[in-house]
Symmetry: C2
Subunit: 62 residues, 2 copies
Amino acid sequence: LFIPRCRCLKTRKFVRVPITEVKVDEPRPHCNRREVIVTLKDGREQCLDPESKFTKELLKKL
Amino acid sequence: LFIPRCRCLKTRKFVRVPITEVKVDEPRPHCNRREVIVTLKDGREQCLDPESKFTKELLKKL
């Protein structure tokens, strides 16, 4: 389960669909930026911009 | 990627090994409790007690 590279090529500022899971990957050797990946209610995964207002609010709720 | 059941049978209050990823699953139809699953530096996954001091501190840092 080693996370080799960065996972997110493009990110969104926000999502409208309900979120069932939030994954936060801290910067690490193979990817020097923080990545926030949410799983949506329908199972799809979406990368979020860690710096967007929406994401910051989301992380605060955790 | 639909998360059918609860994933965590037993949880730990804290971990000492560095964490590379934090997953937070909100209560949902098939699992009515919040679950916090961390990926450790060596790739292993560990469930954390969402209510422990360690976990609360961890989530605050996100």
